[in-house]
Structures are given as C-alpha cells and as structure tokens.
Amino acid sequence: MSEPSIFFFEVNERQGVFHRRAFLLGGLTGAGLLALGGRLAQLQLVEAQRYQKLSAGNQFNYRLVPPPRGLIRDRNGVSLASNRPNFRLIINKDKGLDAEAVMTDLQKLVPIDEARRARVLKELDRAPRKAPVVVMEDLSWEEFSRVNIRAPELPSVTADMGEVRVYPFGGAFAHVIGYVAKVSDRDLAAAKDDPTQDQELLHHPGFRIGKQGVEKAFDKELRGRAGATKTEVDAQGRVVRLDPAGDVPPTPGKEVLLTLDADIQNRALEVMGEESGAIVVMDVRNGDLLAMVSAPSFDANRFVKGLSGAEYKALAEYERKPMLDKSLTGVFPPGSTFKPTVGLAALTAGIDPEVRINCGGSWYYGGRTWRCWEPRGHGSQNLHDAIKNSCDVYFYQTSLKIGPDAIANAARAMGFGQIYDIGIPGQKRGNVPDPAWKKRAFKKNPANQIWFPGETPSYGIGQGALTVNALQLAVMTSRLANGKKALVPRLIKSVGGVEQPSGAAVPDLPFSTEHLNYVRGGMAAVANDVRGTAYRQSQLGLGDVQMAGKTGTAQVRSYDGVKNRKGYATTWRLKDHNLFVAFAPYDDPRYAVAVIIEHGGLGGATAGAPRAREVMRVALLKDPEIRARIERPAPLPEVAPEDVMEGAAPDDPVEGVAPPAPDVGAPPAVPPTTPQGGQR
C-alpha cells in the first residue's frame, strides 16, 4: 500500500519490451499461418491430381468377377466339363476383425462343425490383410438367404454366388480332362512373375486352376478374362452404392472341343469293370481319338472341392493306381499284338509269306528251348497262319532271319517309340530297342552293349526290352487299318472355335499296300476264323460288319520251367498283361481299338477281346453309315467277299440304296490272293 513497487520508467520499459516481443510473436504466428497456407497450396494445387487418384481409389472398389471357365465338350457337343452355381460364404479379413465372434455368429446360422471352424480360423490367421477366406461352399438356398438377411450385422461376411466346375460324367474323363482345384502356393509362386497371368484373379477365393489333363494344358484358354463390378465403398469396405455403368463384364473362357465321344468313352470305362488298364479308340480315317480311358478311375468332382486326407490316401495307395493315366503313362510289352508289325517287317525284308515253318510247340536255339504258347504246337505255319494262331515259333525264326534293325524300323513306322502331340502331357515314350539303343543304354556296362542274338526271338514276339503304351497300340492298329497313311492321333478338335490340325495330314506309310493287306488278312482270321485265337470273343453280331484283331500277352515274370501257363494260378500282381487290338469294319475300316488289361491273365482273347468288341459295337452303332449298312444290308454277293473288302468308299452315302459296285475302279491294288475268303 505504501510505495509503488514499479517505477514509471520501468513501466515504460516493460511496455516497450512487451510491444516488441508481441510484434515478434505476432510475426511468428503469421509466418506459421503462411507456412500452413504454403503447405495447403502444395497439397491442394501442386499434388492435387495425385491425391485425387488416391481418393478415388479409396472411394471406388472394383470387385473382381471371375470369368466363367470355358466348357469342354465332346465331338458331338455333349458337355464334359461345365460350371454350376455355387453359394459361398466368405469372411474378409478386414481391420479389427474378431474372427472368433464372427464364426460363433455364423455357427448359429449355418452348420459349421468344430473342425471346419478351426480350419477357417487358422486360414484367417495366415491370410494377408483384406484377403477373403472361404468358410463354406455349396450352401443351400435357405442357408444362403439366412446369412444374407443378417448381412448388416455381419459386415465382414459375404454370401455370394459363384460358379464351380462340374464333371457330369464323374470318372469317365478324369484322366483326359483332369480337374481343377484350389490355387496352391506353388501355383502362385510359379505365376508370380508371369505378366500374362491375372494375379488378382489367382488370389480370388472362388478361382480354380487346371491341375491335370486338358484342364491344365489349356488352362489359359479356358480361364477367360476377369471382369469387375464398380462399387462405392466406405472405409470399412461396405458397399455403399453400386455403379453398374462402371462394370466390366468378364470374358468367358474359350470352349475346348475334344474328339472324344462321350458314349464310347463311358462304355469303355464301364466294360473295364474292376480291371485295371486302358482302352483307346481311334478313327482310322483321320486319327481322331474317340475314347481314351484309364481304369480304375476316380471322380474328378471330388478334387474340385478339395480332397480329404483320407480320400487322397485311399486313392494313392490303392494297388490298381486309379490316379495314373494308364492309356498314356502305362508302358507294357506289347506281346503278340506286335506280331503284325513283325510280319510287315518280314514282308518288307523280302520274306516269302508262303514259306512254311513247322511249329512243334518249342524250338531249340542258342542253348535253350524257346517255347510256343501252345505246347502242342501249331504244325506247319505260313505268315497268315502264324498271325491267326499267334504262333511264337514262326516269329522266333522269322525275326532271326530279318534281324532287330528291320523290326525296329517297322515298329517306328507303325508309331511305336514316339510321343504324340495330342495337347495333353504325360505320355511315356516306351522303348523300341535295336543295337544302336543298346549302345546308348548300357554306356556304363560295355559287356551289355552288344545285341545278343538271343534277344531277337523275344523281340519277334513283342517281349524283351520293347515297351509301348495303349495310345501307340491304337496308332499302330489305325495305321494298319488305314492301309495308307501314317496317322497321328488328335484329341483336341477345336479351341475357341479354331479347328486343330487333323491327324490325317501326314505322309504315307513306308509299306506296300500288298503287304499291309496280307497282314490285315491275318488279323481278320484271328477274329473270324473259327480257329483264330479270338474268334469267339470277336463276333460283333452286326451282320456283315466284322472286326479284325490281334491278341497279345505280356509276360510279367519268367515262365522258365513252367509247363502249362494256362493253369498257372498266381496273385494279381504277377499275372500276365492281357492285350487286344482290333479294327472294324474289316472290309472298310473306320475304328481301331486297343485294350490293355493289366494283369488280365494269359491270352488277349480272354480279357481284352470281349471288351474291345463291346466298345467297338458302340462306336459302330453310333456311325449312321454303319447303322444303315446293318439295318438294310447291302445286297453284296456272298460269293466274292474279297472284292468288297476295300469296297464301300467311306464317303458313300449308303442310305437305303445299294452301293454302287465300287470294286471295279476304286481300290487301287486289292490283291485277289487275300486269303480271307479261303479261310472262311
């Protein structure tokens, strides 16, 4: 109260300092505000475009729409692989997702067992942020709508409709067409640096990738291009608005047409029954594969959903190997089905087919006894008889006369030892041995490099190091039946409407027509001569439409010391392979069939021929021209059947009218000596 503590000059000084400093502070604040304005100008004027793009990226979401996978059809348009609607339940791994709670909510709506719950939780844990994880597939309509009604309460759950691959014929085409399955980590890694692959599509939970057969080989064609729906979303990823104007429709995958015929294929799998093996049917006019079956098979639809461990184990461990494509990857010694080829080699080498060799049931050569399959012997055999009876002794001696190189050349010309470009991978080449091959194969063992003379007789009856697959057997038979062209097989008829090259645009066979006809005569006798090795099993019952064939047995083990192989019972694994090749109609060949029954037992007639006959019947009855011929038999004279053998030109419409007498000019060189007539 007494004295002022602040003197006047001090007040002035304090005020002065304050004014200066306040001015400074105001200046600083102004500078700060200007700096903010500058920053605003930088963001809003200079970098505006960049942020506008980011903002649009936030606001609009292009939801990927997987393209419908291309259909796979057979030659007649029957669908072999198509798509069906599939109601799915998906959890999106959004920020702050309480997976446990969401699963508990879902369990109240749809049946989810504890195992599935655990699996989904684990997948969600592993999945990257925002990645969708499939909870359930194939919901019923009721379940689907139940979840959809509660969608607002379950923001991270989507119930949507996708498509899933379906194979209407189950197992019949499982090996050829293969199947699709979930994209594996390995698939992702392989496609990672491939710019032609749509990475986003690969990561889509509904997307499936081709894993085997046609589905794998033509995966990119079948896949199509993904579309998108444009939606406006909020920060939680919830769709606020649809924007149909911005939608991009998906491009469906291309359609792949196969040369296969669903009826023939189905019948082929059917006749295999419990047996293990393969059946291949080929059109001998153009090389189209009509059936290619491996048995036993499996239901490809199971793989689409994902196989359980137990299911996979059962398939993988079954002795008869259902997952192996035996028509392409199974290689077997051809056994006696190789004899027509050896016959051709002999004829080409100048052997007179009428020179007879006596078969006494065995033949002594090189210090050991070479047995014929018929222990009682066939007696005096020419080449025709030897094919008809499948006489081993005749072919032991004939092959020795012509040597391994001649046989190998003929085998290659008939299509053995080759891989064909049929569009799908997995073929095994097999082996056509010759001295040059021995040198290559036994590099480390010089003692084995020479061709031992004792190997040739085995070669002559289709044993030894010679191995073939079922497709090659069908090619051989087709070439023989065609009589002219070195046909190659074709499986893919067209891709996306583009016709694939035909198997008939190939050079001619290096055999004379005369020789080919002679050998075919022998095969006709196998099936139609009452003493032929497969006479009873080869009767088609289709009037004058007849089959020609050749039986075969491929030894799995040595029978040295075994007197009678017919009665020699053993376990399945040690039984002989049973083979049969055939073509029909004999007089105007259209279809060739090759059957391999793994461990089917001795003599191609028992297991192979009846199956070949059944398949051949379906193929013939599906052919309208053949049907016309059976239903209204052409008035062909019984007296001269050899004249019509090559008669009915394939292009002739046989509809009801008697075919013109083609025997006069059309066939170039039909030898009148063809022994078929005589054999009847």
């Binding site: 602040i6 007040v11 604040t29 920053r39 605003l40 980011l54 903002s55 649009a56 606020v240």
Partner: protein
C-alpha cells in the same frame, strides 16, 4: 474506439452499457463465422443432418458466447484477484485427477464432480495464463529479463506440465509449457536464456522420444516421420488426411460431397480432422479463407493485448492468444502431415465442448482486457497504484 474520446469522466467506464459497447464486436463476428463454418462442416459430415453434431456445436457456441460476454464484463481487478486462486484450484484438481480420475483410452484425464465431467488440464490452461500474468505484473523488467525470481514462474509452468504429462496427455502438456514459455518471453526473458533453452531442447528431445515416451506416443512420432511405412496401421490417419486435403484441389469437391469424410476414410473427421473435411469439400480457397479468419482473430487479440494499460492485462490477453495460436498451428500442421498426430483440435471448428469452452473463457478474458484497458490494476504487492 469512437466512444473512448468522450469517456473521460471518472466512473463513466464502469457503466454496464458502456462496457457492453466496448466489447470488440468485429472480433466476436469473426469468432461466430468460424463457429458457423464448423457447424456447416459438421452438418455436412453427418450426411446433411443437424444431428448429431452440428446442432449441439452451434448451441454450445451460443451458450459459451454469452459466458464470454459475461466474463468480459468482469473487472480486470477481479481477474487479477482471482488469478492465483484459479491456478491453485487447477493444481488441486490436477493432483486429484491423478488420484481418483477416470481412466479413458488409457489416460487419466477426466474428473467427475457431481454431474460435471471435465478435464482439469483445461482449467489449468486459463489458470496458468492468469497466474503468470499476475506474477509478472509485480516484477521489474530487469528481474523479468534474468534473475533468480524467474524460478517461480518456471515452477508455476513446470508443476502442471509434469502433472499433465503424467496423465499422460503429452499434447496438452506441451501446449501448457509452450503457453507459459510464450508469456515468459513476452515479459522480457533474456534472449540468451531463450537460446540456451532452445539448444537444450534440441539436444534433449531425441533421447526423450526414444526413452521417455509411451509406446503409442513414440509410434505416432515415428509414423509421422515415415507415414508410408504402414499405411493402414498407424500411418493411416496422416495418409487419409493428406488424401482428403489434396483431393480437394483448388475449389473442393463441393458441400456434402467429400468422399473421404462421408465414407469414413478420414478418422476423427468431426473432431481433430475437421479441417481436412473442410479442405476436401471447399478446397484451397475455403481453407485459405478459414486460415485468414484465424489470422484475423490472432491479430485482433494481440492488438487488444498491446493497447492494455496494465501489464497484467497485456500478458493475460497475449497468453490466451498464444494458446489459441498454438491450437491452430499444431492442429493445422498435424492435419497437413507436418506434425505428429497429437490430440489437439482446431478451436471453434472442431466438435467438442471442452476446448471450445476453454477458448471462449479465454476470449472472455481478452475482451475483459479490452473493456477494462484503462483500468489501473493493483501492484504486485496487492496495493492499488
């Protein structure tokens, strides 16, 4: 201003009607404009709806505006007398919140007093300005420049700073310290001390960030330094705010058409990041306009401070202005990606009652300084001059 010429008779300035006329109404108009823009933005964010923010925002502004005018009528001597008590109450409350406060979002900031629920740190913002202004009022310029007496204002700043930092509310603590520092500087602190303190801060801050902070606080700072490191995690706020700002462009996307805020990409869009919403919908032009309004408020407030005849009034008004400026600058820098994310709202624009009340009470003090600019305030010893 026009009135001042004739107001020379003793007691004339104490008449309520004259006091009322002496309130800076231009200042009030600018404040109302800012609050109006805030209401407009809140209306837009809610999807063209007064609910749930815009109506409350404007209603609050109205109520607080009346409080501000009422406080402007209070004699500066009353403010002077109340300075230490308010500071003391603030200190007690800060200690109380430490002992019995509510824990919300991992920090002890709230105190429940009957039906009231408030943050004592807000009381301290006003209390500290008043207390420092009063202390410096009785201090000679030499002492204010450099003397042992300065340990007292340093302690007045340091104690609440530590208490608030302990809650932990680093944003408010820094605001309190910066406001206090600004007042000390305005009062005439030696430049050498300022330089020394600046150097000390530059040396001490990096180790403090690494060792003295909670994890979430450190992450915010590290994220600020490199926001693209984790765009959907901690960097999300900054990135989305920058997208909102940048995508606004020159003229903005239009009222109610800001996709970033309307679709919730922008976090805290109605509170701390409301400026980004404004930027998105009204563009550079709108933002610059609002920044200009803030600049006008600060300029006018500083002018009021400098025309005051009492040292207490000068420092009190300037202290409030400093607090307000810091709010604007820190929030602006944070929204534009120039500063780490700290919970500092844009005053008058952001939704939220606490800060608006503090700011309006502060402006009530500023207006009181203007209305009572000729008032003789007692000396530091409590005696009238």
């Amino acid at each position: 201003m026009t009135l001042s010429g004739g107001l020379t008779r003793p007691g004339e300035r104490d008449r309520p009607i004259i006091k009322f006329m002496e309130v800076d109404w231009t200042f009030c108009l600018v404040l109302a404009m800012i609050a109006g823009v805030g209401g407009l933005m809140l209306f837009s964010i809610a999807g063209a709806s007064w609910e749930p923010w815009a109506d409350k925002h404007l209603l609050r502004f109205g109520v607080y505006f009346i409080i501000m005018i009422a406080l402007a009528m209070c004699d500066l001597r009353w403010w002077f007398a109340a300075a230490y008590p308010i500071y003391g109450v603030g200190l007690v409350l800060l200690v109380a919140v430490d002992l019995v406060g509510d824990i919300s979002l991992g920090a002890q900031r709230w105190l429940q007093l009957g039906p009231l629920r408030f943050q004592p740190s807000e009381v301290m913002k006003i209390g500290l300005v008043l207390a420092l202004a009063r202390y410096y009022h009785g201090l000679s310029s030499d002492s204010a420049r450099l003397s042992w007496r300065l340990l007292i204002p340093a302690a007045m700043i340091g104690v609440p700073f530590l208490l608030v930092a302990k809650q932990p509310d680093l944003g408010t603590a820094i605001l309190i310290a910066a406001t206090g520092g600004a007042i000390m500087m305005l009062a005439g602190l030696s430049w050498r001390v300022i330089a020394a303190l600046g150097a000390l801060a530059a040396v001490a801050i990096p180790p403090f960030i690494m060792f003295g902070l909670h994890d979430y606080q450190r992450n915010r700072i590290l994220t600020f330094l490199n926001p693209e490191q984790d765009p959907s995690g901690d960097g999300y706020h900054i990135l989305q705010s920058k997208i909102a700002l940048g995508s606004g462009g020159l003229l903005g996307k239009g009222f109610g058409l800001g996709s970033q805020s309307q679709l919730n990409f922008l976090p805290e869009k109605q509170t701390d990041f409301i400026f980004a919403t404004l930027a998105e919908e009204f563009g550079f032009v709108g933002c610059f306009g609002v920044l200009f309004l803030y600049g006008a408020v600060i300029f006018m407030a500083l002018r009021i401070a400098s025309i005051s005849h009492s040292h207490f009034g000068r420092l009190a008004a300037a202290g409030v202005t400093a607090t307000f400026s810091l709010y604007v600058l820190i929030n602006g820098a944070m929204v534009m990606g120039l500063a780490p994310v700290v919970g500092v709202p844009m005053p008058m624009l952001s939704y939220g009652g606490t800060v608006m009340l503090t700011v309006m009470v502060g402006f009530g003090l500023v207006q009181a300084v203007r209305v009572h600019r000729y008032t003789e305030v007692t000396s530091g010893k409590g005696s009238l001059m």
